[in-house]
């Protein structure tokens, strides 16, 4: 499982060495207790060093890990009495986006999120979490329903981006995303968005206009996937890691740039190491922020959301060059 993360290799090697020594000791009846203790100590230190110094490419690997928990995993762990709802009532049911109703600690909520597959077959059915217009419209339908019944909206974001295909274009991919942005700006209920894995481009933003944007520690958020950015910037998709670094896609940067409002910690090594623990962290964060937002009036919620996005961006005026607004 962990074998897919290259930066964990030194740890695996050390672990193998310890196991080997233990086995050898038992077989030959030699006491290696001291050596093993020393190696275990080294293991702890090495783990500490590796996990506190994860590079951007390392985090990207974690964010895209095949076993990384998905929207549905969190829904099952956090939301009580969840009922999944389907379809956009216009064209179809896009499985790349899931949604439904349930309770968060007793409060009725609507949950919408991108859904990646758990295995190859599931991934094909879910189009690797890349929605078509009907997916965004399904999300919009459920969010409108939430507003009608005055339910807070929670969204889980995890997509490489909107699907780049002919049929998606014919059915209005751009319009579907744009419509979600303008509608989400105007919902009179609290909206909290959590980026749980990959936040890629307009396809992520289409579920990402909220009062609060939270990111898991190893999640990433960017204007396009690092691969697409590299092919635009350097005419070479293989330079994606260089693009990923330059685009400042990790949670710490996204907070610093005024886009995300908070970071939710992950269990050491990443969310896939302990789903229940991760779900508990997410639930705690949701309850804190929802508690704050539920105190606001409808108008205050709208203003809060407007002001949040209104303030994002950096520019200057020609007379005052050097001074950033």
């Amino acid at each position: 499982m962990a074998g897919e993360l290259s930066f964990e290799k030194p740890l695996e090697e050390l672990r193998a060495k310890i196991d080997e020594l233990k086995r050898f000791g038992t077989e030959k009846g030699i006491d290696f207790t001291e050596e093993i203790a020393r190696l275990e100590d080294r293991y702890v230190k090495l783990a500490e060093e590796i996990y506190t110094n994860l590079s951007v490419p390392d985090k990207l690997l974690i964010a895209r890990h095949a076993q990384r928990p998905t929207t549905m995993d969190y829904i099952h762990a956090i939301i009580d009495d969840f009922i999944e709802l389907h379809g956009d009532r216009l064209y179809g049911d896009d499985l790349a986006i899931v949604g439904g109703i349930g309770k968060l600690d007793g409060v009725p909520v609507t949950v919408v999120g991108h859904q990646k597959g758990k295995d190859t077959k599931d991934n094909i059915a879910r189009n690797f979490g890349m929605p078509h217009p009907e997916g965004f419209r399904k999300g919009l339908r459920l969010m409108k329903q939430a507003e009608k019944f005055r339910r807070p909206i929670l969204t889980f974001i995890d997509t490489p981006g909107a699907f780049p295909g002919g049929a998606a274009e014919e059915r209005g991919q751009a319009e579907a995303i744009a419509r979600n942005l303008i509608e989400m700006a105007n919902f009179r209920v609290p909206i909290i968005c959590v980026i749980i894995g990959e936040g890629g481009s307009g396809g992520a933003l289409a579920l990402g206009v909220g009062n609060r944007i939270l990111m898991l520690e190893n999640a990433v958020y960017s204007v396009s996937s690092p691969e697409a950015a590299a092919s635009i910037l350097y005419k070479d998709a293989k330079q994606s890691l260089k693009a990923a670094e330059a685009m400042k896609i990790t949670a710490d940067h996204i907070v610093e740039l005024g886009v995300a409002d908070g970071i939710i910690a992950e269990p050491r090594g990443g969310a896939h190491r302990d789903l229940q623990q991760q779900a508990a962290y997410i639930k705690d964060a949701l309850l804190i922020h929802l508690g704050e937002l539920l105190k606001l009036s409808e108008q205050e919620l709208l203003d809060d959301r407007y002001n949040k996005y209104r303030a994002i961006g950096q520019y200057t005026f020609i007379q005052q060059l050097g001074e950033v607004h």
Binding site: A162, P164, G165, G166, A168, E169, E170, R171, G172, Q173, A174, E175, I177, A178, R179, L181, I182, E183, A185, N186, S201, G202, L205, A206, G208, V209, Y221, S222, V223, S224, A228, A229, I232, L233, A243, A246, M247, K248, I249, H253, I254, L257, V259, R305, Y306, Y309, R310, I312, G313, Q314, Y315, T316, F317, I318, Q319, L321, V324
Partner: protein, 289 residues
């Protein structure tokens, strides 16, 4: 060295091509980018830069566009002194900005302001594809948002002429967020029942159509203008899908229900004026005018 001798050997002689032989003094004549027909530039200007042979609508920069659309070509420009910074310290961004500024004479990819069309006051926004591929960064997003807010304040209708190659990669997440910012401003404009006409020109892709360009009360496009979310080349490369020749053209998009009307450039002012006129009684334009 032996290698050097071989390198010096020229394998092909250079023959002046057809093109270079028919060289034209700069500016006097213009060649159609689509069919190659050569026209007197002055004549072409009179034709709104539309090729008389094939009908190709040559790309216009923001100023050319506004001069053509507004009464007497007169614009009162907003925020003309706003410029981009390099918020992510992105390698090469500052240099690229300077290069595009020098090349085009513009400070960024959008010009905003107000003027009149057939006497109706309007807030106008026009984008330039030749500045940084018409990409939307913080400046484009901020200027568009301010223009919308001015339209709200003054109760003027809003007209946006879009063209864009996509996001300003060098501003990454800030670029993406401009989609949300401009859309949120339009949501407020809608609450006030403001009139917004979106005019899509060639080409318009990525974040601009996935935000304000596709949110017009009326969406018009110039003939042949290509627009959509993901460009044809990317689709063909990523999923190896064969696409029809007219894929994503205005006419194709009209067929697929993505816009209201394809309007020839020579008729654009008239169509805009007609829509403005239809909204002038009891609509926002009355209070503004």
């Amino acid at each position: 060295m032996l290698k050097d001798i071989f390198q010096k050997k020229r394998r092909y002689a250079t023959i002046p091509s057809e093109k270079t032989k028919r060289e034209i003094p700069d500016g006097l004549m213009t060649k159609c980018a689509k069919c190659g027909t050569i026209q007197y530039s002055k004549e072409l200007e009179k034709q709104f830069k539309v090729c008389p042979a094939c009908g190709y609508h040559a790309r216009l920069n923001a100023l050319e566009r506004l001069e053509m659309m507004l009464d007497n070509g007169r614009l009162f420009e907003y925020d003309s002194d706003m410029v981009s910074v390099d918020p992510l310290q992105f390698p090469g961004y500052a240099e690229k900005l300077e290069k595009h500024s020098e090349k085009t004479g513009f400070r960024d990819a959008v010009i905003t302001g107000e003027g009149t069309i057939n006497g109706y006051p309007v807030v106008v926004v026009a984008m330039s594809f030749d500045f940084f591929g018409g990409s939307m960064g913080s400046v484009v997003g901020e200027k568009v948002t301010r223009a919308i807010e001015t339209a709200i304040q003054k109760h003027y209708p809003l007209i946006i002429f879009s063209t864009s190659g996509g996001a300003r990669m060098e501003e990454s997440i800030l670029s993406l967020m401009q989609m949300a910012k401009t859309s949120a401003a339009l949501a407020r404009f809608n609450e006030q029942r403001g009139l917004y006409i979106s005019v899509i020109t060639d080409p318009t892709f990525g974040g601009v159509p996935a935000s304000f360009a596709m949110l017009g009360d009326y969406i018009l496009a110039e003939p042949g203008a290509a627009f959509g979310f993901t460009g044809r080349r990317v689709i063909e490369q990523t999923i190896r899908q064969k696409l029809p020749d007219n894929f994503q053209t205005a006419e194709f998009n009209l067929q697929h229900g993505q816009l209201d009307k394809v309007v020839h450039r020579k008729d654009m002012r008239q169509v805009l004026a007609a829509i403005l006129e239809l909204h002038s009684r009891g609509g926002v334009t009355q209070r503004g005018g």
